[in-house]
């Protein structure tokens, strides 16, 4: 009886991967525990083991195939028919006829969620700049590498940043280029290494402290706030602390409540910190470079689900963006959707669907949560007179509440409707797929709120 071998999910966020290499060929006898193939996820190259015994009957996805969706049948053990010809010799002949999706088309779909509508250009990027495609992950890595080349005081420290190449591969290749003096693996000791990073900044260096996720930075929050944020003020401006704390923030995928919190509102409430939460690759790169150059302590909030997404990135020798400036991601005249980080993608998706209904939504990406670009929010509100905030995070004491307060305090006369917010449900994030989905914001909910403020 034939046993289908399917493309495995090898990380919480993996939806597809590259079948890097077959270690068996048709006709080979395999038993449980044998390594069948190497599969490259966006985070690592993993070995794929046999669970069942038998003879490899067919190899359906040739090695080297990119974008193979999780669940695609990649090979068959046993079965009656003669071994399929394709796959035996490898590379050039991916089999077309498979029970699952055709690998070729899967490969074509690889670019994770391509940018949909044309975007208004970032005014900070010179017109006519050539663009290339980059994932957010690569953009972040390049930002660090460029700044490390530029300034010998810059170094990266954190768990698995060096030899492992980054838990999420954001620091990939940095150890090779900059060596162990400047790319430093720490023990699992967030409080301690956040303190050491902060102290090193006080001592004149430019540390980039990576947290594997910001959930773990709760152990270190004392140094981020009490040591890094407050010292310049408490010292009367004598003691600067130019450190960058960075890492993924917010919900990932099915990792439960302790690994899924958005800390944006927490840090954004603290005077003395700069808090940045970019969405796309261009902002990730330009703002991380600005963060590293800043004389102030910066909390730089990334998002695991966005790491692998590809965006247009300006091809500039030195792409540095201004901190504290929001950006219009989609121009519109009927309503403003304010968001940041992963919420921006959802807001854009909502705007596209609303456009089909005749609602022209403007999408404003805050990019920096502190200092907040209040002027950009009010300017957009003055144009549209209606506003919705979309935030992947809890509602109470959130960035949404802050934007709503801003609209009440300084934009009341501009409003044609109450400001609404779309946030995650007010519960610890559940694990079950259906409950998790129900707890997290989506484009549908954003669109519904927009219709409401438009009285549609």
């Amino acid at each position: 009886m034939a046993i289908e071998l399917k493309m495995p999910a090898l990380s919480p966020t993996m939806e597809e991967g590259t079948l890097a290499k077959w270690l068996v060929k048709v006709g080979d006898e395999v038993k449980s525990g044998d390594i069948l193939a190497e599969i490259e996820t966006d985070k690592a190259t993993m070995e794929f083991e046999a669970v069942d015994e038998g003879v490899i009957g067919q190899i359906l996805i040739a090695e080297g195939t990119e974008g193979v969706k999780v669940g695609t049948v990649i090979a068959v053990i046993g079965g009656d028919g003669a071994p399929a010809e394709a796959g035996v010799s490898g590379q050039e002949t991916p089999v077309a006829a498979t029970p699952a999706e055709a690998p070729a088309s899967a490969g074509a779909q690889r670019a994770e969620r391509p940018v949909s509508a044309p975007r208004p250009a970032d005014p900070a990027v010179p017109t006519g700049t050539n663009m290339k495609t980059s994932t957010v992950r690569e953009a972040l890595r390049d930002a660090m590498a460029e700044e490390m080349r530029r300034d010998p005081r810059v170094f990266v420290m954190g768990e698995e940043v060096a030899e492992y190449q980054g838990a999420y591969k954001v620091t990939q290749g940095l150890l090779e280029e900059f060596g162990p003096k400047r790319v430093i693996d720490t023990p699992i000791t967030e409080y301690g290494f956040a303190g050491i990073g902060t102290g090193a900044a006080m001592g004149g260096l430019r540390p980039i402290v990576e947290f594997m996720t910001f959930n773990f930075a709760m152990q270190a929050i004392d140094h981020i706030i009490n040591s890094a944020a407050k010292t310049n003020y408490m010292s009367g401006g004598q003691m600067r602390c130019p450190v960058v704390f960075r890492g993924p923030n917010g919900a990932a995928s099915r990792v439960g409540a302790q690994h899924s919190q958005n800390y944006g509102p927490w840090y954004a409430s603290v005077p003395g910190l700069v808090v940045i939460a970019p969405y796309d690759a261009a902002d990730a790169k330009g703002l991380l470079k600005a963060a590293i150059r800043s004389e102030d302590p910066v909390v730089f909030l990334e998002n695991e689900l966005v790491y692998g997404r590809s965006f247009e990135l300006p091809e500039l020798d030195d792409h540095v963006l201004p901190i504290g400036k929001a950006r219009i991601m989609r121009e519109g005249s009927d309503v403003t959707i304010v968001s940041y980080s992963i919420g921006v993608g959802l807001a854009l998706e909502a705007a596209e669907s609303l456009a089909a209904e005749g609602i022209d939504a403007e999408v404003l990406d805050l990019r920096t949560l502190r200092p907040l670009d209040r002027e950009a929010v009010l300017t957009s509100l003055a144009k549209t007179n209606r506003l919705v905030v979309a935030e992947e995070g809890w509602p109470q004491c959130s960035i949404s509440s802050e934007i709503m307060a801003l609209c009440m305090e300084d934009g009341f006369d501009l409003l044609d409707a109450p400001v609404l917010r779309v946030c995650d449900e007010d519960v610890p994030l559940p694990y079950a797929a259906n409950l998790e989905k129900a707890a997290i914001i989506d484009a549908g909910r954003i669109a519904a709120a927009v219709r409401k403020v438009c009285y549609r």
């Binding site: 301690g192 102290g199 006080m202 001592g203 140094h223 010292s235 700069v274």
Partner: protein
């Protein structure tokens, strides 16, 4: 107060070698053994006079600070260093100014004075004036002088330990030959982050001396009530950090121990953990009545172990004229009086100062 050395085996040689430390006892006890072998610094008369003067400055300064607190001129928390003077003076006299760095907790006035920072701007910070070293925005617990490589002045118990390891990291990264001296109390010694810092400092061979100022009480909790291991110098053992137990009531013992520790750290051997047995005569802060210990206990320390009296007696025994000592006392009284006047009469910060220094840059 120093721990008896007799129970300690003396098998170790003098040169520590972390790399080939197959004999664990050796590496971790070698500095203590070196200290036991030659306990007191051979100070010249001038050295001792200088130490005496610095200790008297701290004592008189702190007494005046206590007085100003009572008058309502100093607010908030104010932790006095009276009784512990020999620690800061003995240790910091061994440092190389402009090269080595110092960081401490909130009981920080003495460490600043020992580093030669102007008493006027320290006192003006205590009174919250614009001329204060932090422009009146830090207060007693939050004072810094990057010019002197004095990095605070930190109000969160234990935070200065990893921060100090970070300063040491910077010394090593910059290859500037500097060593960081990171002070903390017997109370802070129970903070988890201290051991996180020990681990990384040892793992990365950072040039740092961890200094536990064991004054016997973590606020109101006696050491034995809060610490399973009361010999703090042993607490580096798990991280392969050699420890030293030092009599912190004798400035010359402190100085001698500092030299040994510094030589080890400057030799690229990684961190040292020093425990200084000391005592604070006053309460934990100005608002602490110190009911958790007997009057007799305090009096015994004052009468028989006072670091200033000890130095004075030694100066006299060396044949230094009493007039010279009195001259120092008089000069210091004048310096402290001037600092107090300055602190009392300087203007408070201007209102716009409220909004400055939150961030360095404008965005």
């Amino acid at each position: 107060m120093a721990k008896p050395a007799s129970s300690r085996p003396k098998s170790a040689a003098a040169t520590p070698a972390k790399a080939g430390a197959s004999d664990e006892n050796f590496a971790l006890r070698s500095l203590q053994d070196a200290h036991e072998a030659d306990k007191r610094y051979a100070a010249s008369d001038d050295d001792l006079l200088h130490f005496y003067e610095q200790m008297v400055l701290i004592r008189r300064f702190e007494e005046r600070a206590g007085q100003l607190y009572g008058l309502g001129l100093i607010g908030g928390f104010c932790h006095l260093y009276i009784g512990q003077e020999a620690v800061a003076v003995g240790l910091q006299s061994a440092l190389a100014p402009g090269k080595d760095s110092v960081i401490t907790g909130y009981r920080d006035h003495g460490h600043m004075l020992a580093y030669g920072i102007d008493p006027k701007v320290i006192m003006a910070e205590l009174t919250g004036r614009a001329a204060g070293i932090s422009r009146g925005k830090g207060g007693s617990m939050h004072m810094f002088s990057t010019e002197h490589k004095f990095y605070g002045g930190h109000g969160i118990v234990g935070a200065q330990v990893p921060l100090g390891a970070g300063l040491a990291f910077a010394h090593k990264y910059n290859e500037d030959g500097g060593v960081c001296l990171a002070y903390f109390g017997d109370g802070a010694a129970n903070q988890g982050q201290v051991y996180e810092a020990f681990n990384m400092a040892s793992l990365w061979n950072l040039p740092i001396i961890f200094v536990v100022e064991n004054n016997g009480y973590a606020m109101g909790t006696a050491v034995k009530r809060g610490s399973a291991e009361t010999h703090f110098y042993r607490r580096g053992t798990a991280f392969r950090i050699p420890g030293m137990s030092v009599n912190g009531m004798d400035v010359l013992e402190v100085r001698q121990a500092a030299n040994i520790a510094l030589e080890y750290v400057r030799g690229g051997n990684g961190p040292v953990l020093m425990e200084l047995q000391t005592y604070r005569y006053r309460g934990h802060s100005m608002s602490d009545p110190a009911k958790y210990r007997s009057r007799e206990e305090v009096q015994e320390m004052r009468d028989n172990h006072d670091p200033i009296e000890r130095a004075k007696a030694e100066l006299l025994a060396r044949g230094i004229a009493e007039d010279r000592i009195k001259e120092i006392d008089k000069r210091i009284r004048a310096v402290v009086a001037e600092a107090a006047d300055f602190a009392e009469n300087s203007p408070e910060p201007e209102m716009p100062e409220l909004y400055t220094d939150v961030l360095v840059e404008s965005y």
